[in-house]
Structures are given as structure tokens and as C-alpha cells.
Subunit: 198 residues, 2 copies
DNA sequence: CCTACCGATCGGTAGG
DNA sequence: CCTACCGATCGGTAGG
């Protein structure tokens, strides 16, 4: 319960802070320019240290990325569960989850912009671990979708995949101004809402 | 009408063939590993020439990518227009277009796998040209969606964007075997079909 | 966390 | 289309 990070070196308070700072800054860079397009030198520059110094905090670029990815998913899962729990109706629960997810994905100031997709820009050695973590995360949506009173000719597996794609890739086209995040969540749900009439 | 490529050097028949071969092979590599993850050396190796020789056929890696992108969109537009034109009902036309689009996006042997999204893996100098070309292509879907008898509280602009996202990113999750491309097109349309009842 | 550095790889070019 | 090469950049490390 101490919450100590699983680092491989002394983790006093200031070191943990610094580590967190590196995570947040590099998360933004990875989100903007992709894994390969983001160099350790660039990260170091924005953090305000020299390139080699990053390796005092992280073993490698890959482990830095995996760390961001895992933390982002954990935090996102927690926020979504909290938002869902305020509702009981299955459609309301789904909408709350989607709105929260969009809010996270579309907020550039967010600590958590994981590059949820386009894993082919990440070296193959780490994709296995990322996919496993992601599958675990998506169980939330599997449960949400399974609880829906959907029309019977809709494949729930495809339905879930399509919905998640929509949420995860929204940052690729969203532009501040025209529509709020919440209005977009509404429109997505508007399209995906196919209630069984019983 | 000669169909001669707009190259900057002699384009006899065999040179045009070679050029085409480079385009097809590099298109696949770009699709698999992203722009930055694909090196000119790797392309050259798969084509069967030495790295420097690629520059006999293309001015730069960027221009090679832009060329692939433009050709892919032109060919895709032509195929979609042909598929659409077999129908008159707006929903049938949309479904035909989507099925064709999916068929292209999900076919690994296809000459045209453009990496339609994730433009942030491409250097900024070329994204303007790519986005312009893409906007032009998407006019097809703008017309298709505008012709639909949609329920009135659905934003056609968002609707079009969401549908295109779905089609363009399908290769990120599709796995051969479980469902055919046509069944997926059906499921997507099943979700996006919200007819006005009038 | 800095200094100083390594080997590998990259896009690209001159000259034939 | 090959030979031979360039400068730049990359992830990472030793030693302090």
C-alpha cells in the first residue's frame, strides 16, 4: 500500500516527482509524433535535462513507453468505472463511460494520451505486453455492451470493437470549437443506440 | 492520354514497370510499419536493388510516400464510384461504397494500403498535401451521406466522419477468418442505418 | 544527474 | 542502376 513505483533505483520523493514529470511530458510527445517520431533527446530537452540522464529514471525508451501506456490505462479505467457507477440503466451507463473516455482522449492537457491505436509504430518486442493490458482494459466495455438490450441481429463483439475504435481514434479528427466533447459522445451514442423493442 | 508518369527522368517501359513495383512494395511496408518505421534501405532490399538506386526512381522518401498516397486514393475512388453506380437506393449505394472500401482496406495483397490515418507519423512538410487529397476523396462520402433519409437529430457531418473512421481503421483490428469483409460491412451498415420513418 | 562517447542506422548524393 | 560515401541522428552506456 506504499504506492512506491517499481523502479530499479533509489526512489526518494523528488526522484518520484521527476519520474512523473518525464512520464507526462513524454506521453504528450508520443501522442503528437508517434513512438518512432519521438526521440529520447527531444523528451530530455522538454524535461530540462541532458539525454543520457533520462536513463537514470528509465531503463530504456521501450520501458518508458510501456510504463506510460499501463498507467494511462489504469487511470482511465478508474475514471470510467467511477462515471459508470452513477447510473443503473445500461444505456446510461454506456453513455457515461463513452463520455468519460472521450473526455480523456480529447483532452490535450490530460496526463493520459496513450496512442491507443496504431501499434505498428511501436517495436514488436513490446506489443505483446501492450495488447494484453489493452484486452484487460476492454473488459469494461465488454461487460457494458453485454448488458445492453440490443437488437438480436447485431453482433456484440463487432459492436464493441466498432464503438471502441470510435472513442479511441476521435483525437485524429476532433478540433476544438465546433462541438463539445459531450455533444460528440451524444452523437456517437445516438448512432450506436439500437434498442430492442420489447 | 499517354498515361506517362510525371517523373523527372526518362520513363521507358521497363522503368515505369520498376517504378510501379517499388510503389507496391513500399506501400505494403509503409502500411505494416508506418512511415518512420520503414527505411529506404528496407524498401530497396525487398525490391532487389541497392539503397541509393531508389533515388533514380524517386526524388525522396517523402515524394515516394505522397505518390503512393495519391495513387491509392485515385484507384480507391474509381472502384467505389463503380460499385456505387450499380444501385439507386441511397442506403444501397452507401452499403456498396462501404463494402468496396473495406475490401480495399482489408486486402493485404491490395496495391493500395494508404495508412489513411495516423498522419502524425508522417513529417509535417507533406501532411498539407495529403490532407488536401483526402478531403477531395471524402467528397464521395459527403454526397452519399447527404442523400440519406436520416433522422433529423443526427449531425451528418459527424455521421460521415464516424463512418469513414470505421472504414479506414478496420485493418487495425480485422483478423482473417472470423468474419468476411462483406459481413463486417453489413454490421457497420446495420449500426449506421437510422432511417427516417416517413 | 552531467560528461563524453559508442556503434548503428538513417536519408540522401556524386560520379560513373 | 551500382560504388562509395556524407552528415545527422538515434538509443544507449561508462564513469563519475
Amino acid at each position: 500500500m506504499s504506492g512506491a513505483p517499481q523502479t530499479h533505483h533509489p526512489h526518494d520523493a523528488s526522484s518520484a516527482e521527476r519520474r512523473r514529470e518525464i512520464l507526462e511530458i513524454s506521453a504528450q510527445l508520443f501522442a503528437e509524433r508517434g513512438y518512432r517520431g519521438t526521440s529520447m533527446r527531444h523528451i530530455a530537452e522538454k524535461v530540462g535535462m541532458l539525454p543520457g540522464s533520462l536513463y537514470y529514471h528509465f531503463r530504456s525508451k521501450e520501458s518508458l513507453f510501456v510504463d506510460i501506456h499501463d498507467r494511462a490505462l489504469d487511470e482511465t479505467a478508474a475514471r470510467i468505472e467511477a462515471a459508470m457507477s452513477l447510473h443503473t440503466d445500461p444505456w446510461d451507463r454506456l453513455e457515461a463511460a463513452c463520455a468519460e473516455m472521450l473526455d480523456i482522449q480529447l483532452n490535450p492537457a490530460s496526463l493520459t494520451l496513450p496512442i491507443m491505436n496504431n501499434l505498428h509504430s511501436v517495436p514488436e518486442e513490446v506489443t505483446d505486453a501492450l495488447v494484453r493490458k489493452r484486452d484487460e482494459f476492454e473488459l469494461i466495455f465488454r461487460r457494458l455492451v453485454d448488458a445492453l438490450p440490443l437488437e438480436e441481429d447485431i453482433d456484440r463483439s463487432i459492436y464493441r470493437i466498432l464503438l471502441l475504435r470510435q472513442l479511441n481514434t476521435a483525437d485524429g479528427w476532433y478540433r476544438e470549437g465546433r462541438l463539445t466533447r459531450r455533444e460528440i459522445a451524444r452523437q456517437i451514442l445516438r448512432i450506436f443506440r439500437h434498442a430492442r423493442t420489447d
